[in-house]
């Protein structure tokens, strides 16, 4: 396809350019070497503040390890609180771009904050990297060229292998329960479409508002549906409450529980006990992996912050690494935005904590070896996710042809891609 030729011609021009940079007198380069300024947007207050903290930790860990320097240029990180609110996020992004003169933006957790910022940078052209914002359409139907999901994932991407695994376990009837917002619709959509295409049946789908304190009405119904398994798409405090109540209502052990990757993230299971053990989920990262690179990352993270890394920390660590690799390729020439963006898209991350080379598809979303993981207890009593099966090279389009796939509507509460 035309994309490959693009990349090839681009690589040629990049090499030519790089060669030019090297031959340039050292003095000339030194003159242009003001620090590279990164604007990091993180929810430090509001509903997802705990996750925001981890995001900053992961991001800073990487830059500390490289002495805040890349390609001979100093790196300056400015952090702003998006308050878990899209209007605040937008305002802070505006401050970064219009006043702070940052070279590029990084961060955000909630989809609505990311979408708001993405819409703004569409007008300004500022590069914006989103290792956590999973809204499908940001790398699909409404792609913005300067918004790249380095080290991130789309919501429906990780749910598909899980559905495949579930079907192979012999599960035929599954019910889903999910938070009622886009991220939930998309994860459940990925699961439901895959599972029904294989021949399984989605018995019922429950949608509950964010911040549900009492799950008993749902758990009562789930218990009596006669399903083989339950898929739960929960994040943050909802995930903690759901898993606890699932166990205390006696469903744990009776109906197998599968979770979306966020449901068993460290930020959720860190404070939990037996009730979370045994939940199966699918993700690109598993802190319990035996892969040497992952083990090293987990150790470094623990040494620095005295806890196991969560997906937010991991994503921003790898995201920072990804962009840094691209900057090395172009000798720190972040001022040439087109070249910078193209290079990031073409960069293949070799030293990622995943221990495998990761690259982006032509829509700016990573292709991963996805791991099916189970929550297990360590000898020190802490819970973590241990991978036991791998689905190699899964893109956001699974095995569908991207163009055909993009013709179907985006997942919503009403469209789940279910095959009757």
């Amino acid at each position: 396809m035309s994309i490959t030729t693009d990349r090839r011609t681009f690589l040629k021009s990049t090499t030519a350019f790089a060669a030019g940079m090297v031959s340039m007198p050292a003095i000339l380069r030194a003159q242009t070497a003001r620090p590279i300024k990164i604007g990091l947007l993180a929810p430090l207050t509001g509903v997802i503040a705990a996750g925001g903290r981890k995001l900053v930790e992961g991001f800073e860990l990487y830059w500390e390890q490289v002495n805040k320097e890349v390609a001979g240029r100093k790196v300056e990180i400015v952090i702003e609180d998006d308050a878990s609110n899209p209007d605040t996020a937008l305002q802070k992004a505006r401050r970064f771009v219009e006043q702070g003169n940052v070279d590029f933006l990084f961060g955000n957790i909630l989809a609505n904050t990311g979408l708001a910022v993405a819409n703004y940078v569409k007008g300004t052209g500022t590069p914006y990297f989103i290792p956590v914002i999973a809204a499908d359409d940001l790398t699909q139907r409404t792609r913005i060229p300067n918004v790249i999901r380095v080290a991130g994932y789309t919501a429906s991407q990780t749910a598909r292998p899980l559905a495949d695994w579930a079907f192979k376990q012999g599960y035929r009837k599954v019910a889903t329960i999910s938070q009622d917002y886009t991220f939930g619709h998309e994860q459940c959509g990925g699961f439901a479409q895959m599972f029904t295409e294989l021949g399984g049946k989605i018995t019922q789908q429950f949608w509950h508002p964010l911040n549900t304190a009492d799950f008993s009405p749902y758990l009562g119904q789930l218990a009596n549906l006669g399903v083989d398994a339950v898929f739960a798409m929960e994040t943050g405090a909802d995930a903690t409450r759901f898993i606890q109540q699932y166990a205390s209502f006696g469903l744990k052990g009776r109906i197998p529980l599968m979770g979306a990757m966020n449901a068993t993230d460290q930020s959720v299971i860190r404070t939990m006990n037996d009730e979370a053990e045994g939940i199966v989920s699918c993700a690109h990262f598993a802190e319990g992996s035996k892969e040497p690179a992952t083990v090293k990352f987990v150790e470094d993270y623990q040494k620095r912050y005295q806890k196991l890394p969560s997906i937010y920390g991991f994503s921003h660590y790898s995201g920072a690494m990804w962009v840094a690799e691209a900057l090395k390729t172009i000798k720190g020439n972040v001022e040439d935005r087109d070249l910078f963006l193209k290079t990031v898209l073409a960069t293949e991350l070799k030293d990622s904590p995943l221990g495998k080379t990761v690259k982006l598809d032509s829509y700016g979303n990573p292709i991963y070896d996805l791991a099916i993981r189970r929550v297990e207890k360590r000898t020190d009593g802490k819970l973590w996710n241990v991978p036991f099966q791998t689905y190699p090279q899964v893109s956001q389009f699974w095995k569908y042809d991207p163009e055909t796939y993009l013709k179907q509507p985006p997942y919503s509460r009403t469209f789940q891609g279910i095959k009757a």
């Binding site: 609110n85 899209p86 209007d87 505006r94 989809a111 609505n112 007008g123 886009t182 964010l210 919503s412």
Partner: protein, 316 residues
Amino acid sequence: MSKLLTSPLRAFAALAVLGLALLPLVLPTYYVSVATQILIFSVLAMSVDVLAGFTGRTPLCHGAIFGTSTYVVLYTASVYGLPLPAAMLLGVIAATLLASVFGLLAVRTSGVYFLLLTLALGLIVWGVCLRWTEVTGGENGERGQLRAALGMSPRQLYSGVAVVVALVTFVMWRFVRSPFGLTMRGIRDGESRMASLGYNVSLHLTIAFTASGFFAGIAGALYAVFNDFVSPSTVQLSQSVSGLLMAIVGGIGTLFGAFVGSFLIIALEQAVSKVTERWLMVLGLTFIAIMIFAPEGVIGKARLLMAGRAEPKTKA
């Protein structure tokens, strides 16, 4: 009624207008955006003041009315591709209609019941925006490229907004000083007396509510252009509260106090959030301090000080 504006205040007002006009020439770009935002929220605060200060009915739904206009503008412009003026007109009409319905439902109550009823009505709008995903985009909201399509620099946008705001402010000022405005004040100070004089109190209140919603709608339409984005957080309770807070900080019943209130709140937010992530707490403490030391608001306090002696005039 010209007594309301004493001559030093008039000079101050002239200075303020001059200052606002010259502002974009001296401020860095980002602060021009902040100034634009301050102007837009001043209109929202003034629309709250029209009700709270002049009819004595304190509403808690103006954020929802404001946001409805923002939603309609962004939706009609980006989904139906309507030209901006038409979209903005529709936005203002939608807000006005919504306000008239709210008015019909709410004006029969007063005091804390009015507060609660308008709060509930505002929450309905919020709920609809959150759940009607197909139209409003739910949690993710609705996005547009209105600002980019205009091709205006932040400075030009500021000037455009400033002209509209100046016009709207003038209209509001005429409105509260008109015979109709006098009636509103009459209702505030003695509702039963106005009724016994033969005034149709509910009708007057409904009209006042609708007019105030119309102004809030204008602010909302401007905000759509400024922000290019709307989500349920624009129609949620805190938006209504901040509109009311701006009116209170500036001085309820002073109309122009809204500018001071809007400036203080947004500027403070900007300054404090730069220093500490506990900025919400600092804001809260500041409001408490204002309520203790200047319950009549900044402009209200200034007037009292200038009058030399505190007039014993209490307002709800």
